[in-house]
């Protein structure tokens, strides 16, 4: 015999076909389905009746596909890393607003504010009794600065500044007329109560009345400084609201004036790299790396690869009542974010080098089912009046402004205009101040509902800043540096630069590591299912098929059996009654000579459940078959089944 044949025989002997004797595919499949541990297949094969088989196929096949889908999902997420992510390549230097803390360029606005300033100074004089503020050069040039007798004061008429005695708040001294007068209306303290230690301290405040009704509110402040600044600000907003934007921009400083030198990543930059952004109270602000401009990015960390600018800050141009500190303010923010310069920002001191090292942290929150955050604000019912990406602050401000327009009929000056609204001023809206203060009070006390409507954003970037200061310019280099810088500024300012007019600013990434904080759900759906399946499998060796089986057996089948039994009982009882009624009638054909025919003892097959007439094969031979109990034990289960199944099916 050839060796090939030998090997073949050996293989045949050692590796027999595992199916039942008949080596056909169909037989094999049947054998598999009956023998396998996955219940579904077996159910399909074993169950009798087409409908029942179909019912088993229905859950089995989808669960098979689901298994595949979820397993592939698990594989897909397998190679994710939780924790730190680090990007080494280009990090954009985020937009940087460098701006001066100042109102408009003071000398330019002066004609507009001259009256107001006169009155303020007069008020100071009467209130605190000093005649002249330590005046600077420019003020001396101004004629008749102390001409109080001149025009009729209109601002103090509108909103009188008053001095209150602490004890008796209902009486106030109007310092304009010097008369004591009775003040009605609620008094709102803008000061903490602890502040007043002295008994007979006088407090300063102002009264706001609405013209239509006789309602008045008095605002008092613990310090005259706050009172006067607040009072001045109200009037300032009034006046500026009537000035068109173009004019205001021109009044403020240009980027060429503000920036003396600029250096980014070792390359010179100039005013063209800065985008103008006009803030109602702060005047012109300039943004580096704005989205409209060409975006500069650096691929290195460290101070020499960041932004280095020298700012020119002219102290004399500061409005003395509006802003009382000197310097600039810097905000680092996202390109599409609106900079809230009045709330956040780092102050830059003059005659100093300020170095700001940054670290970027990105945070992502999970959305809807997990927390109440919003992706882009489109699902928040408040219209975004800022031309910027959504943030909680923007939402709150927008909400307030919208409410302001609704209630007072005009918009507040320090925030952008909603569509079809005007800024408040005296001429058109004489009541607006009272309205504004009332509304603001309500807003702070969360009565407007803004706080509950606005939701936080899901993703935000944070810059952790490390700010340090050093003296600049140093004693030895001061002389030459100021000379060259003066030449650099050239025509913009026709004066010699002073140390205190300049501030140096360095902004850089400490390293180009980015930290991302990401929320991830503790349990996902597939995790839940697999946990569930694991537990079921471990304790009960059970699967979804098992559950369906349980439902089928314990709920549907057993109920139907009980129902059937009841029905039988009822029928019996009925027939007994019938028998009692007519005893000569034969009781029942069934069940006496041939109990096997009784359908109810049989399995609940489809036909029996629907009470259909029994199939023709169910006709039973006259004699009860012998109960070959022993047969069942000796024979193989599969053989017997196949034997019995085939006729049952047909």
């Amino acid at each position: 015999m050839a060796p090939g044949e030998k090997i073949k025989a050996k293989i045949k002997k050692n590796l027999p076909v595992r199916g039942p004797q008949a080596p056909t595919i169909k037989e094999l499949m049947r054998w598999y389905c009956l023998k396998t541990n996955t219940h579904g297949c077996r159910r399909i094969v074993v169950s009798r009746g087409r409908l029942r088989r179909l019912l088993w196929i229905l859950p089995s096949l989808p669960s098979f596909f689901l298994l595949f889908i979820i397993c592939s999902l698990i594989f897909y997420t397998f190679f994710c890393v939780l924790g730190l992510s680090r990007q080494q390549l280009h990090l954009f230097l985020p937009s940087t607003d460098s701006r001066r803390i100042r109102g408009q360029g003071y000398s330019a606005v002066k004609p507009l504010l001259a009256d107001l300033e006169q009155e303020t100074r007069a008020a100071l004089k009467t209130l605190y009794g000093f005649s002249e503020i330590e005046s600077r050069k420019r003020r001396e040039a101004e004629p008749g600065s102390s001409a109080w007798e001149g025009p009729q004061p209109k601002f103090l008429h509108l909103i009188p500044l008053m001095v209150f005695n602490e004890g008796e708040t209902s009486k106030a001294t109007d310092f304009l007329t010097g008369q004591k007068r009775k003040v009605s209306g609620s008094i709102i303290h803008k000061a903490a109560d602890v502040m007043h230690v002295q008994e007979s301290k006088e407090v300063v405040g102002f009264q706001l009345c609405s013209n239509g009704t006789s309602q008045c509110a008095v605002y008092t402040f613990s310090s005259g400084v706050n009172a006067i600044q607040e009072w001045y600000k109200l009037h300032y907003m009034n006046i500026m609201a009537q000035v068109p934007l173009e004019k205001k921009i021109n009044m403020s400083y240009s980027a060429e004036e503000l920036l003396v030198t600029c250096f980014f990543d070792g390359v010179s930059c100039d005013a063209r790299n800065f985008t103008l952004f006009h803030h109602p109270m702060y005047g012109n602000c300039y943004t580096f790396n704005d989205k409209e401009n060409e975006i500069h990015s650096t691929s290195m960390g460290g101070s020499e690869y960041g932004l280095q600018v020298i700012l020119y800050i002219n102290e004399e141009e500061y409005n003395p009542f509006l802003v009382s500190s000197t310097g600039a303010k810097v905000i680092v923010h996202r390109q599409d974010e609106y900079p809230f310069i009045e709330d956040v920002g780092t102050e830059i001191e003059t005659a100093m080098a300020t170095s700001i090292g940054m670290h970027l942290t990105e945070s992502f929150k999970l959305g809807e089912p997990y927390s109440q955050c919003t992706e882009d604000g489109s699902d928040v019912p408040i219209e975004n009046i800022y031309n910027a990406a959504y943030s909680l602050q923007i939402c709150l401000h927008s909400c307030f402004q919208t409410k302001m327009v609704e209630r007072c009929g005009c918009a507040q000056y320090s925030q952008p205009l909603p569509p079809a609204a005007n800024y408040c001023n005296y001429q058109q809206h004489p009541n607006w101040m009272y309205c504004y203060y009332e509304l603001h009070q309500a807003f702070v006390q969360e009565k407007l509902g803004c706080q509950s409507v606005c939701r936080e954003a899901c993703s935000f970037k944070e810059w952790t800043l490390t700010t340090s200061l050093a003296q600049w310019p140093s004693v030895v280099s001061e002389k030459w540096l100021l000379r060259v810088l003066t030449w650099d500024q050239g025509q913009q300012i026709k004066k010699k630069l002073n140390k205190t007019d300049l501030a140096k600013l360095l902004i850089f990434y400490k390293d180009l590591n980015q930290r991302s904080i990401m929320e991830s759900p503790a349990n996902s759906v597939e995790m839940l299912l697999s946990n569930f399946g694991g537990q079921l499998g471990l304790w009960m060796s059970c699967s979804i098929v098992c559950i369906i089986e349980i439902i089928e057996v314990f709920f549907i089948d057993s109920l139907s059996i009980i129902a059937r039994q009841q029905w039988q009982r009822a029928k019996k009882w009925w027939s007994q009654r019938q028998a009692l009624a007519c005893p000569e009638a034969p009781s029942s054909l069934q069940g006496q000579d041939n109990p096997v025919l009784d359908i109810d003892d049989d399995l609940p097959t489809f036909t029996s459940a629907l009470r259909l007439p029994p199939a023709p094969e169910a006709q039973v031979p006259g004699t009860p078959p012998p109960r070959y109990n022993t047969l069942r034990l000796e024979r193989a289960f599969s053989n017997q089944l196949t034997d019995t199944q085939v006729p049952a099916e047909s």
């Binding site: 994710c80 490390t466 590591n513 399946g533 694991g534 057996v553 109960r627």
Partner: protein
């Protein structure tokens, strides 16, 4: 702190004079050149001069030499070059030439301040690079001179204290870096020290005026074995103040290979760490790698090493005499993004990082009341003089302390591991199909069986095909044995034709015997038992 001006003055003398003259020419071009200007040493100037570019006519920018008397730029032809030219119209630029001045480019600056500073730094680099390192070290401050007082916890510390290791690293010499490696308290034993208190002498009057314009100490917290990049990452401490720095330590640990491209000790980075001479043999820093990479490129392209970065063995620092083209080459390299990208790509991040979060606060120091005695004592200690030799501008007090005595570790962890994966898969499989690994094996077996059966059937099919073909060759039934035998001898032999009709009974009759009992009725009774057993829905 920068080098002491009084010590390096003789080196920078020419340059400073030149600088003064340049400033004079830029700011006040109307004045005629003074006699002092003519006596200047112009060798430095001629190498990389500063020029004014007149852009009043944007199509024909005119290049004006600052010292037009000495070097007539004939192209301009205007009698008074810088006159009536201000910063908006004239830009200061640096002329960079190579190949003996045949190929020239202008590096334009928008502000004259920057141009002048850059120019001075380049020239100073050139000068310092020709001085041996040991001499330069002497020109800077030593640790003893710099630290006026030092206190670590409650114990005094000296320059090389026992508990605080104060070391001095002097390289690159232009910066004359002094730094302190502050030992992290290994375990909080005994009463924890309250931190490091230092009083530093900044000596602001002794700064090189054109080199640095910022006065203050620069300090950096770093790992003990790492190289400090003070200029890049350090923070300022202002003179005349007491600066308190609260430190929080974050350690970052990254997962290595399959998840991210980080390196533990830099051995798999193709760039040799040039900083490894400074106690950083084992510690990998990405910044050090990038700088080493730059120096490598510098040596490849310009054949000399830049002065600010450490020098590989056998190479030389760039200077004007030996490498006249180096400035041009350096600025080209510095501007090229490709070079930087290459370096960043080659240098991997480090797997272990330490980040220091600092809370900086400042107060005026010394206070007016205490000013007098503090200055007296410090002056006495420093100069042995009874007069006050220090001023508020020259000293700074530093408090460095740890806000917490433990540090936070941020570690990466894999979102999934293999155990998790298996249990998940098992759960899914069990849940949806009631299966297990056995099922999978079973399934595999079935597949094998399937193939096996297919093979067998194929073989059978082929065999039958071949047989049929063989049969097809002889039409009719195969010859019987008798026929074959007789074919040779008896030509008239006629085989029996198969006649099925001849023995119809014998053909169709089955083998005699009793037929098996046709237990048809059997089927019904055991069926009940078996079915109830297998299906389980009979009660």
């Amino acid at each position: 702190s920068p080098p002491r001006y009084s010590k390096v003055k003789h080196l920078l003398k020419d340059l400073d004079q030149l600088m003064e003259a340049v400033l004079e020419r830029i700011v006040a071009p109307e004045q005629p050149l003074s006699n002092a200007t003519r006596t200047l040493n112009f060798t430095l100037w001629n190498h990389t001069p500063l020029v004014l570019i007149d852009e009043r006519n944007p199509h024909h920018p005119v290049v004006l030499d600052l010292f037009a008397d000495n070097h007539n730029v004939s192209a301009s032809g205007s009698p008074a070059p810088g006159r009536a030219c201000n910063a908006q119209q004239c830009k200061v630029a640096m002329r960079l030439c190579c190949r003996n001045g045949t190929v020239c480019t202008f590096r334009k600056f928008i502000s004259a301040t920057q141009a002048v500073t850059e120019w001075y730094t380049l020239q100073a680099t050139n000068i310092f690079s020709q001085v041996p390192t040991q001499e330069l070290v002497k020109m800077g401050y030593s640790g003893e001179q710099l630290i006026l007082a030092c206190l670590f916890g409650a114990e005094p510390c000296s320059y090389s204290g026992a508990r605080v290791h104060l070391g001095q690293v002097i390289h690159p010499p232009l910066r004359f870096v002094h730094l302190w490696s502050l030992g992290l308290p290994a375990a909080a034993s005994a009463p924890p020290p309250t931190g490091l208190k230092l009083i530093l002498d900044l000596g602001q009057e002794d700064y090189v005026p054109f080199l640095t314009s910022t006065a203050g100490a620069r300090l950096l917290l770093h790992e003990q074995r790492s190289y400090p990049f003070v200029k890049e990452e350090g923070i300022y401490a202002m003179s005349g103040t007491e600066t308190s720095i609260g430190v929080l330590v974050d350690k970052l640990e990254r997962k290595g290979k399959p998840y991210s491209q980080c390196t533990v000790n830099g051995s798999d980075v193709p760039i040799r760490n040039l900083y490894s001479d400074y106690n950083t043999t084992l510690y990998y820093q990405c910044e050090a790698c990038i700088r080493s990479c730059f120096q490598d490129h510098m040596i490849q392209n310009c054949s000399c090493g830049h002065y600010l970065y450490p020098l590989p063995r056998g190479q030389k620092f760039c200077n004007n005499q030996e490498f006249p083209d180096w400035v041009y080459c350096y600025s080209q390299l510095r501007q090229s993004l490709g070079q930087r990208e290459t370096c960043i790509r080659m240098c991997k991040e480090s797997c272990n990082d330490t980040q220091y979060k600092m809370t900086i606060s400042m107060a005026d120091w010394p206070s007016e009341a205490s000013e007098d005695w503090i200055f007296h004592v410090l002056s006495q200690e420093r100069d042995q003089s009874t007069n006050i030799t220090l001023s508020r501008k020259g000293i700074v007090k530093l408090n460095i302390y740890f806000q917490e005595f433990n540090y936070r570790t941020i570690e990466e962890s894999a979102a999934n591991n293999i155990v998790w994966l298996l249990s998940n898969l098992g759960g899914q499989f069990g849940f949806w199909m009631g299966g297990s690994v056995l099922c999978l094996i079973e399934f595999a077996e079935i597949v094998i069986d399937f193939l096996w059966i297919t093979v067998i059937r194929l073989v059978a099919f082929c065999k039958s095909l071949r047989q049929r073909r063989a049969q097809a060759r002889y039409a009719g039934p195969p010859p019987t044995v008798a026929e074959l035998v007789e074919a040779h001898t008896n030509f008239a032999f006629q085989p029996d034709t198969a006649n099925p009709g001849a023995y119809p009974d014998e053909q169709t009759l089955p083998i005699p015997g009793t037929p098996p009992p046709n237990y048809d009725s059997l089927r019904l009774q055991p069926l009940d038992v078996i079915e109830s057993d297998s299906e389980g829905d009979a009660i």
